[in-house]
């Protein structure tokens, strides 16, 4: 592993261009590896699939790290492995400096208080058989010994914090719209004051105006409590808005990281460049006039990634070297790192 140049910028509510010296990050993964066994073939043989291949990430206090990539890039798996919802097959996970890679049972359940998750589908992430109060109270009951009165007060407080009324606590999820359900999911995630919340495509299922309300709510919560987010999303415009720093994943690897503005304005990796160029701009004139890179082909099979640079099969600038040699992590001017022979 090359020494990580990629330190979290201490968030100030605005993206910072400079890479600041950071204290201990809230969450950190080092050389994380996740391997699944895929059943293939009629005889039921299994093949290994390395969904995450030796990645490093660090998320600072009050920071939002955007994790982008296409389906199959391993971004969701990374989020789940970080929360120990999936067993990593290699590497280290630290939360507030504590190594949680090997924690089990009671000890693991204990640290879960510090890290929570908001899921994509607000329709299936709430138990339809439970009223909202029960759903939100679940982490409270698991982690805190509250009196009845304290519990009731906390529930009301949480509902108001996410912009709902305490009168709705005894309603069932089906009575709420998608946006409202996502608010409930957020209330549940922040109920026990976690240090880190992993948002896995948390606004992808919502309409634009509802999506913006949820994004604003996430920002308000961060400003108020200093919480950190790992924001996993495929919508780059949303990530540009909410993230302080961004990491781009391709086939289980991080190909580029950097402060949001630098990464969006001056992408260093051809894949980042192509991703950005593929997002249609909401302006016919600008969309016509811009130079676009349309990638050919599809993402290769993750069970059989290409040798060398894993992007070389689709890269418009591919060189002979890319097909054989894995590019090393190199610092980028303006902050962050990239893995590309063009910048090597």
């Amino acid at each position: 592993m090359t020494p990580s140049v990629d330190r979290p910028a201490v968030g100030t509510g605005k993206p910072t261009a400079a890479v600041a010296e950071a204290p201990v990050p809230v969450a950190e993964v080092e050389d994380l590896d996740v391997e699944f066994r895929l059943r293939r073939g009629p005889l039921g043989g299994t093949v290994p699939l390395r969904a995450v291949r030796g990645i490093d990430l660090a998320i600072g206090e009050r920071e939002t790290l955007g994790l982008v990539g296409e389906s199959g890039s391993g971004k969701s798996t990374t989020g789940r492995a970080l929360l120990r919802l999936i067993e990593p097959t290699g590497g280290r996970i630290r939360l507030d400096g504590q190594d949680i890679t090997a924690l089990r049972g009671e000890a693991l359940r204990g640290v879960r208080r510090k890290m929570q998750m908001v899921f994509q589908d607000p329709y299936s992430s709430l138990d339809p058989a439970m009223v909202v109060a029960e759903s939100i109270a679940e982490p409270l009951d698991t982690h805190l010994a509250l009196t009845r009165a304290q519990r009731t007060a906390r529930l009301a407080e949480l509902m108001e914090q996410v912009g709902l009324s305490r009168r709705h606590l005894n309603r069932y999820p089906y009575e709420f719209s998608g946006g409202q359900r996502q608010r409930i999911a957020i209330a549940r995630a922040v109920a026990v004051h976690p240090r880190l919340v992993v948002c896995d495509e948390a606004v992808s299922a919502l309409d634009v105006s509802t999506q913006n309300q949820i994004l604003n709510l996430l920002e308000d919560i961060q400003a108020g409590s200093g919480i950190s987010y790992l924001f996993i999303a495929h919508d780059l415009a949303v990530v540009r808005h909410i993230a302080h720093r961004v990491a781009v994943m391709y086939l289980g690897e991080i190909v580029e990281t950097g402060p949001t503005d630098r990464l969006f304005d001056r992408p260093a990796h051809p894949y980042t460049e192509a991703l950005l160029s593929a997002v249609p701009l909401p302006s016919p004139r600008r969309q016509r006039e811009r130079e676009r890179i349309v990638l050919t082909g599809e993402v290769p099979d993750a069970a059989d990634p290409p040798p060398g640079c894993s992007f070389h099969t689709r890269c418009p600038y591919v060189m002979q070297r890319c097909r054989v040699e894995v590019p090393a992590e190199t610092p980028v001017e303006g902050g962050g790192t990239v893995r590309c022979h063009l910048r090597g």
Partner: protein
């Protein structure tokens, strides 16, 4: 007419700007009702638009706007017992589709007009090879032998950019990736050279790089064969990329209609403008994200007057009253555009350009 064809693919009669001159699809005053616990509720209220030959028209709106209901009712695919078209007409090349017998409609569907759905996996039959599925469509509408239908299937699969089409025609749907499956769907929709394709969020489930490929493909197919496309989407970026004209829907009504350049330059309805302002920008962060207060009204509890007025930043008292009958009628404006806003001549709204 230009004499002496050279044998090259003849340029189609494309470019029917504004759909006014030679529309291939005309939807007029469409009203659709759905059965609910509380009786029949009006879900589409007087939807009108037309699509010119070879033109790509976007139908944009958020969930609950009625855009999907519109596309399904054009094809006669609404659930038969819980919904009905209570008024209006849908004419495909002059032929009325509303009220057409089921058999005749089935003959039209897949032949003159076809559909592409968001999730190709649920629209393709997992038990049959894709080549056979396409050949089946060809045979149903065009007749002929299995052999010629299969040859046609391979031909269209090749056209939509499936590498090694002859071999891939013998694959099952699950053996394709998401993007390739959507190409197969497009091949199937194009197999009989329809006059109109209705695409309902065809790229929403795809990754951006694959979306870019599929949009390019649809653009090329439409241009080469003069096929008109109705593109239903919630994504203003996609509309800007692929559409010639856009129809903006809100709460079961068309609220604005214009050529895309005009629409994005100067929206003439506050809802369109609000949607544009709310889009997070790829090109830069601009403080807090704009939101539209409140939410889309449900059928059955539509606000009086202008349906957008409770959420509109520009609403005044007469927006509640509406025109004479408590509704707001659509206003025809210069340049072939229209808007359902009472204050259309007083307001200057910001677009994205």
């Amino acid at each position: 007419m230009t004499p002496a064809s050279t044998g090259a693919p003849a340029p189609s009669t494309a470019g029917g700007a504004a759909g006014g001159t030679d529309p291939v699809l005309v939807v007029e005053d469409l009203e659709v009702r759905f059965a609910t616990d509380g009786g029949w509720l009006t879900v589409l209220d007087g939807v009108s638009f037309s699509v010119g030959r070879g033109e790509t028209v976007g139908i944009v709106g958020e969930s609950g706007s009625g855009k999907t209901v519109t596309s399904l009712s054009v094809l006669g695919l609404l659930p038969p017992h819980s919904s009905r078209i209570t008024r209006g007409s849908v004419r495909l090349d002059g032929v009325e589709l509303v009220g057409m017998a089921r058999r005749k409609l089935e003959a039209v569907r897949g032949d003159d007009i076809s559909m592409i759905f968001q999730e190709p996996m649920t629209s393709l039959n997992p038990a049959f090879k894709v080549g056979d599925q396409i050949a089946e469509v060809v045979r149903r509408h065009r007749g002929g032998s299995w052999r010629s239908a299969t040859a046609r299937a391979v031909e269209v699969l090749d056209e939509v950019g499936i590498p090694d089409a002859a071999r891939r025609a013998r694959s099952f749907p699950h053996e394709f990736s998401g993007g390739m499956r959507q190409r197969v769907m497009i091949a199937m929709a194009m197999a009989c050279r329809p006059k109109v394709i209705i695409a309902d969020e065809p790229t929403t489930a795809l990754d951006v790089t694959i979306q870019a490929q599929v949009l390019d493909l649809m653009r090329t197919m439409s241009r080469e064969h003069g096929t008109a496309v109705v593109f239903v989407t919630h994504d203003l970026g996609v509309v800007a990329d692929i559409c010639d004209r856009a129809v903006v829907m809100y709460a079961g009504q068309v609220v604005e209609q214009a050529v895309v350049d005009d629409l994005y330059h100067r929206p003439r309805h506050p809802y369109t403008a609000a949607l544009m302002t709310a889009m997070p920008q790829l090109t830069g962060r601009s403080g807090r994200l704009a939101t539209i207060p409140g939410r889309t009204p449900a059928p059955g509890s539509m606000p009086a007057g202008c349906r957008f007025h409770p959420r509109c930043a520009h609403a005044v008292d007469r927006c509640v009253d509406g025109d004479a009958d408590g509704r707001v009628e659509i206003r025809e404006l210069a340049g072939g555009r229209s808007s359902r806003c009472l204050r259309v001549h007083e307001l200057t709204l910001e677009g994205t350009e």
